[in-house]
């Protein structure tokens, strides 16, 4: 029985207030005011589709030691249309950050707004066919939008992840169907930053309403269930009430349509169907049927049924937990700056050349991506980075360290400062010495922190984020940063 074994969700902490967007743009887009309600999620400057996918996947694959607890994953499908690298396997970055083993399939699935669900279907296929035993699926998007565009108000940033397998299934796959039609509701050409949209009424009537229902019906037929048996219908769209209209056309009762989270999250692009699926699994009861549809040059639909195992699944942050952990952002200028929509004076310190020695990046990949240090087999001292000679002054054993991963360990702030001098996209730059109870420490950047919000002794967790950009060469570096531990 192929199905979902585990899931996770992630929404960035910042929530851009739609009122702030509308107020800033009232002079040019006065029509936006009335609909500008609620908030949309907003990735921090150091987040992208890769880092958000990592966060969702960590939520999906809990465990203190990733080096052992994630060993079983043998495929990773990453769905997104906003991947940071056009030619470098983005799934490979996610896999490294998760400390997954090298002997696995990795694929970026992109090019359409249904990429997230397509990635999940690919995982179902791989597991059903036996080419993978435990496939990880992650979907994340941070779509760039022009200032004062409707998309700026409607979109959101978010991610979801799923483990697909054959045992301990919490939601089994009953059936799936797809169609592929070159319907160009919008497009983004190579090298372009922004989507180009066609008329909304046409997209709604000739696109969604015409293309989606036949595929939903086909999927229900394959699943062998009636539309009336559907408990949760997931139909991402930014058109108000269109999801209900489609449900009706498919014979699904309108009250089964799931909240698309437009009010408090916004639409997370190709990740949104999976974000909503994760959200549905947080709220579903065992034995319920979930239909998830995703539109984009045709349509993908999957029909799932939750099992008893769902009630045994350990509680996780998920989408609800992520939505609850929020900070309102009303500074539209900051939004523009974080998204490169304004030419900011960054000062000469920002001119520093961030060219990366890729040989070093590769040689130290488990350290830089996996946050793996070493543990001395002689004296037991855990340390970061791993080195040939043990740092314990009473040991100093040579070549005696085995890999020791810090990524999932809680840390504590020993010392810190909030620095206004160093170049930062979001000053002041917070950083400090983070210590780990198991042994080891390092001077780490902090992110998602508020000035004056913590002191020595504060508890932190580590997150995988963008370290800096090499704008000259179109490269970006990633590393781990500390964020304040969210109180459960």
């Amino acid at each position: 029985m192929t199905g979902i074994v585990s899931f996770g969700g992630y929404v960035p902490r910042l929530r851009l207030q739609r009122k702030a967007i509308a107020a800033a743009n009232a002079w040019i887009a006065p029509g936006q005011g009335a609909g500008a309600k609620g908030e949309r999620s907003m990735a921090n400057w150091d987040e992208d589709a890769v880092t958000m996918a990592v966060e969702a996947a960590r939520d999906c694959l809990p465990g203190a030691n990733p080096l052992t607890s994630r060993k079983h994953i043998d495929a990773l499908f990453l769905g997104s249309t906003t991947l940071p690298f056009a030619d470098r396997l983005n799934a490979g970055i996610v896999a490294s950050a998760l400390s997954l083993g090298a002997n696995m399939r990795g694929a970026d699935i992109t090019g359409s707004q249904r990429a997230g669900l397509s990635a999940l279907l690919a995982a179902f296929d791989a597991v059903s066919a036996g080419s993978a035993s435990h496939a990880l699926v992650a979907a994340a998007d941070t779509r760039k939008t022009r200032a004062a565009s409707p998309a700026e108000l409607n979109y959101g940033d978010g991610a979801a992840a799923f483990e697909v397998g054959k045992s301990n299934v919490i939601a089994r796959l009953l059936g799936a169907a797809s169609s592929t039609i070159d319907f160009i509701d919008h497009f983004r050409g190579e090298g372009e930053d922004f989507d180009y949209h066609w008329e909304e009424r046409w997209i709604r009537d000739e696109g969604f309403v015409t293309i989606v229902p036949p595929v939903v019906k086909a999927a229900l037929t394959k699943a062998g269930i009636e539309a009336a048996a559907v408990d949760h219908f997931i139909m991402p769209t930014t058109f108000a009430k269109l999801d209900q209209q489609i449900a009706k056309a498919c014979g699904i009762a309108p009250e089964k349509v799931r909240d698309n989270l437009a009010g408090k999250l916004g639409e997370c692009g190709s990740a949104h169907a999976l974000v909503m699926l994760a959200h549905a699994l947080e709220e579903a009861k065992p034995g319920q049927r979930i239909v998830v549809a995703s539109f984009g040059q045709g349509c993908d639909v999957a029909v799932l049924e939750t099992t008893e195992a769902l009630s045994r699944l350990a509680k996780r942050r998920g989408i609800n937990g992520s939505l609850a952990h929020r900070k309102e952002e009303a500074n539209y200028m900051k939004w523009l700056a974080f998204n490169g929509l304004v030419n900011l004076e960054k000062g000469m310190r920002a001119e520093k050349d961030n060219k990366t020695a890729l040989t070093v990046t590769y040689r130290k990949r488990d350290m830089l991506f996996g946050l793996t240090g070493g543990k001395c087999t002689r004296c037991g001292t855990a340390q970061f980075p791993r080195s040939r000679i043990c740092v314990n002054p009473n040991c100093k054993a040579v070549d005696a360290q085995e890999p020791f991963c810090y990524a999932e360990l809680p840390g504590k702030v020993l010392s810190w400062s909030a620095d206004f001098l160093t170049y930062s996209m979001d000053p002041p730059q917070h950083y400090g010495m983070v210590t780990f109870e198991e042994g080891g420490r390092f001077l780490a950047d902090f992110t998602d922190v508020d000035v004056g919000s913590f002191d020595s002794g504060a508890e932190v967790r580590m997150v995988f984020r963008i370290k800096d950009f090499d704008e000259r060469r179109g490269f970006r570096r990633y590393f781990w940063k500390a964020v304040p531990q969210v109180k459960a």
């Binding site: 010392s415 400062s417 010495m433 210590t435 080891g440 420490r441 001077l443 800096d468 570096r477 590393f479």
Partner: protein
């Protein structure tokens, strides 16, 4: 058992340029400025210099790499010139090279010169750079003030000092140095400041405000050293000798091992103990006439008072507030204004500290002259609290 350096090498002459924003002076000119003073003070000719050490930290900004910039600027007689670099402790490193060469008998007269031209970057503060190929890929995006500010949070946590009390104590550190610097015509900053000015200054890196940070300056300083016997034969009286030269470097313990609490300098305590042993100092609080420490930031100076075992552990705040380190206190600290006001041309700073000790010990410090100093300590630090180089040098009157 090594016998140590005590009284084996004498300072024959010293020189120091005016520190500050020397817009019209390059490193070459600054080197000559310091050197001419030292040469005159020593009473020797360039042809008598047998080996030289040049210290600079930032080669992109100052003179580039190698020893040739010094050899060329001073037209040295094709002698050995070695460039040394050890972060902000580079100046002490150059001095160590020259002193050891003389002590070893490899030469009779050696030169140590440190220089840094920092004001050619186009912006305030220290220049940024890429420290190797690995660290930029994972090291925190810090600056010098932010790195040293770490001490404050850890010190507060350890000694249960309130934010306000520590902020006031470090303000006093700076107010004192400005008062001293006002009496030093070679200092970069020569204006006295008030505690309120200090507390109200713009924040640079919490809790360090503008006046908690030292000046970023251009400048050069140098020393010419020889043996006490040669100095005496040259007719020198009041001979100043080296009593101790110690250097302690982090080995990764502070940055990787949880035994360090972040509130002090592990290296400074080691270097200080060794230096006191080498110089035969039993009670530094009583025995030292004065100290010049590496006050790159006010908090650095405060914790250093404990690292040098002059203030008791956790007692620096009280000593500072009591004025123990003021010009009229028990152990005057930064009588020349320190890095804070004399300025911090990195490669020159260690030698600048020795220059002030040398002037004071000879009674030549002008308006800031202390009464009858016999022995002085310099503490020159490079790096950051969790990874650094610490030099402690002690000099004094021959036989003291």
């Amino acid at each position: 058992m090594a016998s140590g350096i005590r009284d084996k090498v004498a300072i024959l002459g010293m020189g120091c340029s005016k520190f500050g924003e020397r817009w019209n002076m390059g490193a070459e000119e600054l080197m000559v400025e310091a050197y001419m003073e030292a040469l005159g003070d020593a009473g020797v000719e360039t042809s008598q210099i047998q080996a030289a050490w040049l210290s600079t930290h930032i080669d992109e900004q100052s003179v580039g790499k190698g020893g040739t910039p010094l050899s060329v600027a001073l037209r040295l007689p094709n002698i050995a010139v070695t460039r040394v670099e050890n972060f902000c402790a580079s100046g002490s490193e150059a001095f160590r090279g020259a002193v050891y060469a003389v002590a070893a008998g490899a030469c009779d007269i050696a030169l140590a010169l440190g220089v840094e031209k920092l004001k050619d970057t186009g912006y305030g503060g220290l220049p940024t750079g890429q420290p190797g190929t690995l660290l930029p890929q994972w090291g925190a995006n810090g600056s010098a003030p932010g790195n040293f500010a770490q001490l404050a949070s850890a010190y507060r946590a350890k000694h249960k000092v309130s934010k306000e009390d520590l902020k006031r104590a470090i303000a006093h550190v700076s107010v004192k140095s400005h008062a001293n610097g006002a009496k030093n015509p070679k200092a970069h900053l020569q204006k006295a400041i008030t505690e309120d000015q200090c507390l109200g200054a713009p924040m640079i890196a919490e809790p360090l405000g503008l006046f908690d940070c030292c000046g970023v300056s251009d400048g050069a300083a140098c020393a010419i050293v020889t043996t006490p016997e040669i100095a005496r034969a040259m007719g020198k009286k009041d001979i100043i000798t080296v009593k101790a030269l110690q250097l302690a470097l982090s080995n990764g313990l502070e940055s990787s091992h949880n035994s360090w609490d972040g509130s002090y300098f592990h290296t400074a305590r080691i270097a200080a103990k060794r230096a006191y042993d080498e110089a035969g100092i039993k009670n530094p609080r009583m025995d030292l006439s004065m100290i010049e420490v590496h006050d790159c930031f006010s908090i650095t100076e405060l914790v250093t008072m404990e690292d040098l075992f002059i203030s008791p552990e956790g007692g620096a705040v009280k000593d500072v507030m009591d004025g123990f380190y003021d010009a009229d206190g028990g152990v005057p600290c930064q009588i020349d204004g320190g890095l804070k006001c004399f300025g911090h041309p990195i490669g020159a700073s260690g030698l600048r500290m020795l220059y002030e000790m040398y002037l004071q010990l000879q009674g030549k410090a002008g308006a800031r002259q202390l009464k009858d100093p016999r022995i002085g300590l310099t503490h020159n630090l490079g790096g950051s609290p969790s990874m650094n180089v610490c030099s402690v040098a002690i000099i004094g009157a021959m036989g003291a």
